[in-house]
Symmetry: C2
Subunit: 316 residues, 2 copies
């Protein structure tokens, strides 16, 4: 049996504080990239919105303050060291950041950069969680729907470093449509960064299930689509809010093959066999042989929940 | 907070041998239904193709032999005791069986029966695994694609015992489209039966992952759709083939709340709070607020894997 090994790293980042400058953050990421390279990484996955603290927990009215969390160019003078180090070491990377376009659009974005430092793919987050209104009664908010527009690039798959790579961001990982859209384009690897607080007041599942539902989501996405999934999160506290960490790599078997051991900055490495997925694509998840899209149309036809459809002899 | 409790049972069946008569099997199921009722069951879930041994492991040429595994009426004289016991005890049930229709169609079917013994729903399996050709070199085969037609009733949700209940069968549980189609119709509970051998020669995932990928699939379906999932399997050996068992109930949190402890006949009970799902439907899985079907069309447009779609600035 063939074996096509690839050095995959998820880099957990133990919190970015409001006072941390971009230059400090980039130096920290460069140092982590060097550690990853020393472990054998061909590709390094950084978290979502990596360059600043998670702005969506604050209500800001002032557009200048809001825009100060966004990048207007990539690379910029401040982020160039990441690209230079990638080229120097021959290591690709995935980076999540807040993107402000030249025509004034705001996106929660990730880019894929290859081992020569060239941008080979871009994704703008589609499943924005939280709310857009000011819930000032909460200890902290979750305002992604205020600060970001829904991504306009779809779920793309990009050729980079000889692989077909799909990208997603944070909340996307809980939606099975995401992995399916990527695997139907032949993705071999799905990369995602996240910012997941242990507790979102009044909003999400119970704290005690938070780590399991994260791991469950990436494991199910990997298994049901015969892809590798690499998920890098922030961890520890950001401005007093605890982030779950649990950065991990999931195999097409649905198993976690590497996982952060701490809630600090941590390089999580796995040498993966890309061809391992093929046995799943040829059998239980041979989509051409088994999928039945003629029975899936409700997935597109409806956004929210509605009444049961008629079934001959019942419901009619 | 409201609490709407319901007594849910999955009944694991420790193998049906080729020599077991339908009358013997039905008596065994009736006895298990009585045990479930004594535990507090309002509804009992039996496995897939419960009334006979799993015929799809054998190659048969003779149509009369094939049809001997099928039911031509439901209830029949042989299965009537199940319906009578349901009405007597006030317990509903789900039963998987092979259905031969009056106009000659063969389906892998499940029915839903309410607590008065009335059939309130029917499902015919859509994701048929395995193959239709004679792989006589295998120790045993997986011929669902030979013996059954793809179901023609869609993924239905039925009102029964005051609940909205969706049904699926075995391999369906590995396909996220199934739970999504049911939850978009307001399903609160998804019932499924299965026959999963530990090892399918030359076909499926590795034996050591078999139990985990089963539990992963039902947990992910429950979590990502804010539904309860109840899955009843055969276990132990059928005609020398070991079936994984692992009958279980998964909560909308993605947690397994009850699971078989043995590979024998076993009643697995949970008193579930149906309203527990609402907090998920109102937050992380508020479909109306968060789903983006305009980006899901590839799920319908493609059956199998294909080339990456164009992304502006990339792949084009």
């Amino acid at each position: 049996m063939s074996k096509r090994t690839f050095g995959l790293c998820v880099v957990q980042v133990g919190g970015i504080q409001p006072e941390d400058s971009r230059a400090e953050v980039v130096q920290r990421l460069v140092s982590l990239m060097r550690s990853a390279h020393a472990r054998g990484a061909d590709l390094v996955v950084f978290p979502e919105l990596t360059l600043t603290t998670f702005m969506s927990r604050y209500w800001f009215d002032d557009q200048e303050t809001i825009d100060s969390y966004f990048e207007t160019e990539m690379p910029s003078a401040e982020t160039a060291p990441l690209f230079e180090t990638a080229a120097e070491l021959g290591v690709g990377f995935y980076l999540g950041y807040a993107e402000l376009t030249s025509d004034g659009h705001h996106y929660n974005t990730s880019i894929l950069v290859d081992d020569t430092g060239r941008i080979t793919g871009k994704y703008r987050k589609i499943h924005l969680p939280g709310h857009s209104d000011n819930k000032s009664e909460l200890a902290y908010q979750h305002l992604e729907k205020k600060y970001f527009e829904v991504g306009d690039l779809g779920f793309g798959v990009f050729e980079s470093q000889g692989l077909k790579i799909g990208m997603a961001l944070c909340n996307d990982r809980r939606w099975p449509e995401v992995y399916r859209a990527l695997s139907l384009q032949g993705a071999e690897l799905v990369l995602l960064g996240y910012n997941t607080p242990m507790d979102v007041p009044g909003w999400q599942e119970e704290p005690h299930t938070k780590m399991e539902s994260h791991l469950l989501s990436i494991r199910a996405g990997a298994y049901q689509n015969a892809v590798w999934v690499a998920a890098a999160g922030k961890s520890n506290t950001e401005d007093g809010v605890y982030m779950i960490g649990g950065s991990a790599i999931a195999s097409p078997s649905g198993e976690i093959v590497a996982r952060a051991q701490s809630d600090e900055d941590e390089v999580v490495f796995a040498s993966i066999d890309l061809d391992y997925a093929q046995s799943f694509r040829d059998s239980v998840f041979d989509f051409s042989a088994h999928r039945r899209p003629e029975h899936y149309s409700i997935i597109i036809d409806r956004i929210g929940r509605g009444e049961p459809l008629p079934v001959p002899g019942f419901n009619s």
